[in-house]
């Protein structure tokens, strides 16, 4: 067969693709520009407080990530940069959440006073660099990008953990984070290498296609390699999520780093890691519809049918497809001969429009029917692929379910007996990572069979992330402000705090109750969404694992109630500790305003919950095809 592309075609395709991709890549470009700007501004003047530049950058990033486009309908899924990234509702949603968090977080650091003016340029560059990595994590469509993004998000945060220099604990936290992080990244890279080697590609959708071909015929060795690769990749992501048993860094790093950095690590890093987990799980567990191409054999008949313009014969075409389904690997081999002209740079989403054109013979009058038939064919092929991938989905689902149960339970149990509020919140963060991972299990169980169920599970996760952003940012900001007043992060020193600083204590109590999941606070809504998806998944599939998850979730919620209550009880019922209340200063206006603003969503999100749920539903609409 003649080569179908030449060099100049490749260049033209690259130009078109890059121009298109850059338009969708604006938030990341904004971050890059502002990283450079931080350095440039400091060259010109040292007087300007870089906080304002950073805030401007975050706001521009938020605007350019354009979360409102989700309100006006679902975002089409399309690949960027020759298939390295993918832009869909999930990308838009999580990127917007990250940017919103960045704005709130920057204001918080300004109010709490860490970093100082002198360190500002460096620290804001690190924060932006890390956020850039997280944005890539949410849109990764290629295993190289997965690794690159994890490194980009991780390496600057190692430095952030040691933000305040000259402190022994800070440097120890940074060191532990860096060493464990490097180890986890190394293990993950090895897993990626095995997976890439087996599938022969690093591009996720193509990899899913290849796996669908390999798995039915896989021997013991290949299965072992696949499991090994999945477990090793899971280690890397579990580290990012601080899932048990790879959580050991979290309490130490949270204890050693300052509360500002903790807020960043516990919210942004978790949200991005969850989005990445979602992408990998769904990407490996199903073949996206627009990756499926019609095998040539079918296409010939397709053409002939079309030229006769006999819609009734479409039925026979579908029969043909059904026949081929049984001989599934054969179909995939035929795919090799399909006229894949723009394999290089054209976004695959265009395939559906181009196929009739590529065939050349399809009459315009029956264009619609041709497209409908092509769609039906591709759906059937996709189903066959997805069937072949069901062991992958089960394995990933059970692996994540296991991690989720262990993580939530361990996190909640270990939170008892913590005397330091930051350590307590570290374990609480671990437990919440467990809850959030729970939603991916029903997603994997229903993916490919029950479209609505899968979407519901993914949407529940997004809803939980939205809630969680405000909760943990609020909790850590109050801790940072209290540190500035009281000079302690030990829970016993918070004793009787309600008398001197009632507003902060009430807000913290609300946030803690919300973290437990008491109605009508926002935490309840998030938890309810996840448990509902678990229950629906169980009633659909009858999978025992989902029932266990549901029970574990319920029990954990009950367990977690008591340690949060313990802190609140100490603050409200305890005897005031005179030493720390010497010359009580009133809470500053800025602090007060910030804390109240950040607590408002916790209390009132229920009023506009429809909006959040709608946002999450739109976000996942084109993500699962």
């Amino acid at each position: 067969m003649e080569p179908t592309t030449d060099f100049y075609q490749l260049i033209d395709a690259l130009k078109a693709d890059s121009a298109n991709s850059l338009g969708l890549f604006m938030p990341e470009v904004t971050l890059c520009v502002f990283i450079a700007l931080f350095l440039a501004v400091r060259l010109i003047t040292t007087k300007l407080d870089l906080f304002w530049v950073a805030l401007a950058g975050a706001v521009v990033g938020l605007i350019s990530s354009n979360p409102l486009q989700l309100c006006s309908g679902a975002v089409e899924s399309e690949e960027m940069f020759t298939g390295l990234l993918v832009h869909d509702g999930l990308t838009v949603a999580v990127r917007s959440i990250l940017m919103l968090f960045l704005v709130l977080f920057l204001i918080f650091t300004k109010i709490s006073g860490v970093p100082d003016k002198e360190d500002g340029a460096d620290v804001y560059s690190l924060i932006f660099g890390s956020t850039l990595g997280m944005c890539l994590m949410t849109s990764a469509n290629h295993l190289l990008i997965v690794f690159l993004a994890i490194e980009m998000a991780g390496v600057p945060s190692y430095v952030l953990a040691g933000l305040i220099k000259g402190r022994k604990r800070g440097s120890e936290a940074a060191l532990k984070y860096a060493i464990y992080g490097a180890g986890a990244a190394g293990v993950m890279l090895y897993g990626i290498s095995l997976l890439v080697g087996l599938a022969g590609t690093a591009h996720l959708p193509t990899m899913a296609l290849q796996l669908a071909e390999i798995i039915p015929a896989a021997g013991l060795g290949e299965q072992a390699v696949l499991c090994l690769a999945a477990v090793m990749i899971a280690v890397g992501i579990a580290f990012k999520l601080s899932a048990v048993p790879f959580h050991f860094w979290a309490p130490d790093v949270f204890h050693g780093a300052c509360a500002e950095v903790n807020a960043f690590l516990s919210v942004a890093s978790k949200a991005a890691a969850l989005a990445l987990l979602l992408r990998l799980a769904v990407g490996l567990g199903s073949v996206p519809l627009n990756e499926v191409e019609i095998p040539q054999i079918l296409e010939v008949q397709h053409e002939s049918i079309m030229s006769e313009a006999a819609p009734t014969q479409l039925v026979s075409l579908e029969d043909q497809v059904a026949d081929d389904k049984s001989a599934e690997p054969a179909v995939v081999e035929e795919t090799a001969d399909a006229p894949a002209n723009d394999t290089e740079a054209e976004p695959a989403a265009d395939d559906s429009d181009e196929e009739p054109v590529a065939e050349g013979a399809a009459e315009e009058t029956i264009d619609d029917e041709a497209q409908a038939a092509a769609l039906a064919t591709r759906l059937a092929i996709k189903q066959a692929h997805d069937e072949a991938l069901s062991p992958v989905r089960n394995f990933i689902g059970l692996l994540i379910a296991f991690f989720a149960v262990v993580t939530a339970t361990f996190g909640n149990l270990a939170a008892y007996g913590q005397t330091n509020i930051k350590r307590l919140l570290a374990y609480s963060t671990i437990a919440h990572a467990g809850y959030m991972m729970m939603s991916i299990a029903p997603l994997m169980m229903t993916l490919g069979t029950d479209h609505a169920g899968a979407e519901q599970a993914a949407s529940a996760l997004i809803q939980y992330i939205v809630v969680y952003v405000f909760l943990n940012l609020g909790a850590f900001s109050i801790i940072a402000f209290l540190r500035n007043y009281v000079g302690s992060e030990e829970i016993e020193d918070y004793s009787g705090m309600v008398k001197s600083r009632p507003s902060l204590v009430i807000c913290l109590a609300l946030i803690f109750f919300s973290l437990v999941g008491l109605p009508p606070l926002s935490g309840f809504l998030g938890k309810f969404a996840i448990f509902a998806s678990l229950a629906d998944g169980y009633s659909d599939t009858g999978s025992m694992a989902l029932l266990i998850l549901l029970l574990a979730g319920g029990i954990n919620t009950a367990i977690s109630l008591f340690y949060y209550l313990g802190v609140i009880k100490t603050m409200i019922m305890g005897e005031p500790n005179e030493e720390h209340h010497l010359g009580d200063r009133p809470v500053g206006d800025m602090e007060m305003t910030y804390v109240i603003l950040i607590t408002i969503p916790t209390v009132f999100l229920i009023v506009c919950w429809q909006w959040v749920a709608g946002f999450a539903d739109e976000a996942v609409k084109n993500f699962i095809s």
């Binding site: 080569p3 690259l14 940069f81 560059s125 000259g166 021997g219 990756e291 894949a340 290089e344 302690s488």
Partner: protein, 246 residues
């Protein structure tokens, strides 16, 4: 290599065994040596031998980069680190015996699993005969460079292959990695730079430093300077370093 290949059909095997043995041997050297300077030296040799294996597998460009960046750059960095921290006590450090035992057991079983995986797939296990023409055809520096600008010329002839679908140009990561390197540079400089009082390990001066941090940003809340000096000092440090004092 062609000349050798003509003269001696087993050249690939010979060099493979040579490089593999040195890479693994010096890898063990890194693991078993107590002396950190020797460890660094063994690591250089191990990484260099790995570069040899890269050449042998037909990845000349990556092999060259391995030599230049790893052996020439990263290793120099590590050796700087060794020199900066080279005090008598830290040159030789014994690993605890119980660590050795545990590590041997865990590492051994991990190695078994990985080796089983390495020989797991028939496709990987079966050697494939290569003709000289094919060896000739694998000069890949130009396609590699073009792929970094986003153009996959290696897909030109085989664009009908289903797998070509997954062959992406790497322009975006190539650019984004430069941003990453910039951020990392800033981070490393931030960490390594001696700021005022950053050498301080005693509590007094680090207290003062933290006070500076706080005072600058909360001037509006200052009631009286003396108050803040004492209060901040306590507030900033008590929770974190109180245990250090004993």
């Amino acid at each position: 290599m062609d000349l050798i290949a003509v003269a001696w059909p087993y050249w690939h095997q010979f060099f493979f065994v040579l490089f593999a043995a040195t890479a693994i041997g010096f890898g063990f050297g890194v693991l078993l040596s107590k002396n950190v300077v020797r460890m660094a030296f063994y690591l250089v040799l191990s990484l260099g031998s790995t570069a040899g294996l890269f050449f042998l597998a037909g990845a000349e460009f990556v092999g060259a980069m391995q030599l230049m960046i790893y052996v020439g750059g990263t290793m120099v960095l590590l050796i700087f680190g060794v020199m900066l921290t080279a005090q008598k006590d830290f040159i030789n450090m014994d690993t605890h015996t119980q660590d050795w035992i545990l590590a041997t057991i865990v590492g051994g079983s991990l190695l078994m699993v990985l080796l089983f995986g390495a020989f797991g797939s028939e496709d990987w296990k079966t050697p494939q005969d290569i003709t000289d023409a094919e060896v000739q055809a694998t000069k890949e520096a130009t396609p590699l460079g073009l792929a970094l600008t986003g153009i996959r010329v290696d897909t030109l002839g085989e664009s009908t292959d289903a797998v070509a679908e997954g062959k992406s140009g790497y322009l975006m990561p190539f650019i984004i990695v430069s941003i990453h390197l910039l951020v990392v540079l800033i981070g490393a400089a931030y960490m390594a730079r001696t700021k005022k009082l950053s050498h301080a390990t005693d509590d007094k001066s680090s207290r003062a430093k933290l006070m500076l941090f706080k005072m600058e940003h909360e001037e509006e809340q200052l009631e009286e300077e003396q108050y803040v000096v004492t209060h901040r000092a306590k507030s900033a440090l008590n929770p974190l370093d109180s245990e250090n004092e004993d």
